[in-house]
């Protein structure tokens, strides 16, 4: 069939992938709770929808394979097949296979590679065991064990009068008939030509066809009606049950796995799916009305609340909003210098609105991390079976939202960390029992917001890292100077160093380090950080800290001489004044006594080589990032400012301590400080400093 449905087919492919995702989630849900009827219903719906849409696009391989899966699911739904581990496994593999089929369809014209075909055959064989009445199930009454007729069949009269535009809309009436055949048997069909006009008025590209069909099927009115979803606007459809002999009870019982009030259907009509003259409601006793597929109402209702928007458009919008923020900041600044009260008031209310727009626009890009987390359920299940370990994945904070691009890019590093934790972190059941721990290992994925960033935690209750061996290895490789005494934290984080990446020895001794530097690099690219904490025998926690968004930050403006710098506001903890006396003392020591706490100071004036004398009064901005804290010494505090990050050009790529630039309302350029980089620089400087100090001390 060469009907041109490219656009619609793309949508189908995207939706089918989503359906498969949902199916997989429900399967995993079913695995933990085999009695979950909702999950069974959801799985069935997913398979059913995929089959239905694939049929419309003439994607025969998908239809035929999904049909088998659907049959098994149907039997599962009406209770003639029990949920067991084998069934879940084969269904999961089937859903993988369906994904592959869909991917093949997406690369138009491609065919399945031979190994996949081989797998399909194997899967079909396994599925058939569930499909055919097993000897054990023999006592069940015959009509129920016959997979092709799961319920009682009835005769329907379907009358179709296609509209003239059907061909032009890229549809072929015959494909609906073909698809209809998958639901049951076309007993009789009459092709109606009475609508064909006289030869002069006839147009070869208009459709005048009509069909009267006698159709025998166990499918419900809703399911049959669904066949014609794509052509509903162009076609008069009338579906009437002819014989009422079949007991409606049998029928309803089969379909209404998740009973929904009939109002749902009314809601469906209101979404504009139907026109008045298209009689969706069957001329049937009232109870049948309730058996109209809960399926469609579910998914349609969900569709109604979402709008698919191209990500580029969204980026464009956010970029514009960013410019708006800058412009409005400029206007406020001007207004302030005018000393015109009404004008100031006006600009301040505009600024307020702009801020709300900004928040709203940014929120558009925010999606909950949960979807990514849920994907890992399958990974954990598969890997733990592969390794022969019993591992439970606990997910919390799934509703925590972060930027879409960040979510997309964090998937791989997370996957890597999870695999590592399962492979090397969690011990085998025997080892666990020997260590006095429960045989079942636990993996905890958690997400939460913390000081303007999102924190993702991967915690396992495995053996933990071997601190001494890592240190030994690091010294051997010259990553840690001899004689230095790094903290445990620093030692653990050494496994993110490139030198540790592929070292076999590390994998053996601590069970970590495979490609951890890649993980770290990916996270750093997202302006995030990663650190690790471990307790021998208790487990390991990896913490990934990511910015909420990549586009706009709330900044704190500080001035040094004539230059302005922006410090991300989320990292600012407090500001303190540095009096002249204090200034001298702390300048020598390089730190400040902050309420009994040692606060290392960074003199930005020196750091960025500003000329000229420092201001008489200086200020300290206390910044914190992750566990590091420092004071930045600046001349002036200029207040809060919302800024759009403009990335620095390639030329400045090597510049450390600056993460970008922004344009102030006055038109001046301000540099945005890369606080994490600054803090690590300090930490490293200290590390370098310590050993020399030690050596000096030793020399004396």
């Amino acid at each position: 069939m060469s009907i041109n449905l490219d656009q619609a087919q793309q949508t189908f492919i995207v939706e089918a992938r989503e359906q498969l995702q949902a199916m997989e989630e429900s399967l995993l849900q079913l695995e933990t709770d085999p009695g979950d009827d909702d999950a069974i219903g959801a799985i069935f719906r997913a398979a059913h929808t995929i089959k239905g849409s694939a049929g419309l696009f003439g994607l025969e391989p998908i239809v035929s394979f999904t049909h088998i899966v659907e049959d098994v699911l149907d039997r599962l739904r009406n209770g003639s097949v029990e949920v067991d581990a084998g069934l879940i496994a084969v269904l999961l593999k089937s859903s993988d296979h369906m994904l592959e089929l869909i991917n093949v369809a997406a690369n138009q014209g491609g065919t399945l590679p031979p190994p996949a075909l081989q797998r399909e055959v194997e899967l079909c064989q396994i599925l058939q065991e569930y499909q055919a009445p097993s000897p054990a199930a023999a006592p069940t009454p015959a009509p129920e064990t016959n997979p092709s007729e799961p319920g009682e069949t009835r005769l329907w009269h379907i009358s179709l009068r296609f509209g003239q535009d059907v061909f032009r809309n890229g549809m072929d009436p015959l494909s609906f008939l073909r698809y209809l055949q998958t639901l049951g048997e076309i007993v009789d069909i009459a092709t109606l030509t009475d609508a064909l006009p006289a030869a002069e008025a006839w147009d070869a590209e208009s459709c005048y066809l009509g069909f009267d069909i006698a159709f025998r099927s166990a499918a419900s009115h809703g399911a049959i009606n669904e066949v014609f979803d794509f052509v509903r606007e162009d076609c008069e459809i009338d579906i009437v049950a002819i014989d009422d002999a079949a007991a409606p009870q049998g029928n309803t019982g089969l379909v209404t796995t998740s009973p929904e009030p009939p109002e749902e259907n009314t809601a469906l009509v209101a979404t504009g799916e139907l026109l008045g003259d298209q009689r969706k409601t069957p001329r049937m006793p009232a109870q049948i009305a309730t058996d109209k597929q809960p399926v469609t109402s579910d998914s349609k209702g969900k569709d109604g609340t979402y709008v698919r928007v191209n990500a580029d458009k969204l980026d464009e919008l956010i970029n514009l909003v960013g410019e708006l923020v800058i412009a409005s900041a400029g206007a406020s600044l001007l207004a302030r210098t005018c000393h015109n009260d009404p004008l100031q008031e006006a600009t301040s209310s505009v600024s307020g609105l702009v801020e709300e727009i900004l928040d709203g626009a940014l929120r558009l890009r925010m999606i909950p991390i949960g979807e990514t987390f849920n994907r890992f359920r399958r990974v954990v299940r598969d890997v733990s079976q592969e390794l022969g370990k019993d591992i439970d994945l606990i997910i919390s904070g799934a509703e925590t939202e972060l930027d879409k691009t960040v979510v997309e890019k964090i998937g791989d590093p997370l996957m890597h960390l999870l695999r590592n934790a399962m492979d090397h972190g969690i011990e085998t059941a025997e080892a666990r029992l020997a260590a006095g721990k429960p045989a079942k290992g636990h993996l905890h994925l958690n997400a939460y917001h913390d000081s303007g960033s999102i924190v993702l935690e991967i915690a396992d209750d495995g053996a933990g890292l071997n601190r001494d061996r890592i240190l030994e290895k690091a010294q051997e490789r010259g990553l840690v100077p001899q004689g230095a005494s790094p903290t445990d934290q620093e030692i653990y984080n050494l496994i993110f160093e490139p030198g540790f990446s592929t070292a076999q020895a590390v994998t053996n001794l601590s069970g970590r380090g495979v490609g951890m530097d890649v993980v770290k690099r990916n996270i750093t690219l997202l302006r995030g950080t990663v650190d690790l904490d471990s307790q021998t025998g208790k487990g390991t926690v990896v913490r990934i800290r990511l910015p909420l968004t990549l586009a706009i930050i709330n900044g704190f403006l500080v001035g040094i001489g004539q230059s302005t710098y922006v410090i991300p506001l989320d990292m600012v903890q407090e500001c303190i004044e540095l009096s002249e006396d204090d200034g001298l003392a702390s300048r020598e020591q390089g730190y400040l006594d902050l309420r009994g706490e040692v606060l290392p100071l960074v003199y930005l004036r020196d750091h960025f080589n500003h000329e000229g004398p420092p201001a008489r009064r200086q200020n300290v901005v206390v910044v914190r990032y992750a566990e590091l804290k420092a004071g930045l010494v600046v001349d002036d505090l200029l207040g809060e400012f919302q800024t759009v990050i403009k990335p620095l050009g390639k030329l400045f790529g090597a510049l450390r301590g600056i993460s970008g630039s922004t344009i102030l309302g006055s038109g001046a350029v301000a540099l945005i400080l890369d606080v994490p980089a600054l803090l690590t620089q300090i930490a490293q400087a200290e590390n370098r400093f310590n050993p020399t100090q030690l050596q000096q001390a030793n020399a004396r």
């Binding site: 072929d172 494909s175 073909r178 069909i189 064909l196 070869a204 590209e205 459709c207």
Partner: protein, 94 residues
């Protein structure tokens, strides 16, 4: 040229190559319909049709109707698998 038309004695031989679908229906109709009624008999060879859809089906139905109106007797000399399948689907085994 998807439609081959030639006349031998009182029979018109119509032979269609390739698709009988929405993409070719209009062109075929323009070539085909005017010939109806020109000869008492028309022999249809549909054995080289690779694909057929609803529009193609409709064209055949149209030809059938117009032919009987114009007094041309249609006969089918060959049909491809695509044609057979489509006709069977619509219960129109000729």
């Amino acid at each position: 040229m998807p439609l081959h038309y030639e006349t031998t004695d009182d029979t018109a031989q119509v032979h269609i190559d390739g698709e009988l679908t929405i993409y070719t229906a209009a062109e075929l109709a323009a070539q085909w319909l005017p010939h109806l009624g020109a000869t008492p008999r028309m022999a249809l060879d549909l054995s080289q049709i690779t694909e057929m859809d609803g529009a193609g089906l409709q064209l055949l139905l149209m030809v059938q109707r117009e032919a009987s109106r114009a007094g041309t007797q249609l006969s089918l000399t060959g049909q491809s698998k695509a044609v057979t399948e489509t006709l069977a689907l619509c219960n129109l085994v000729a």
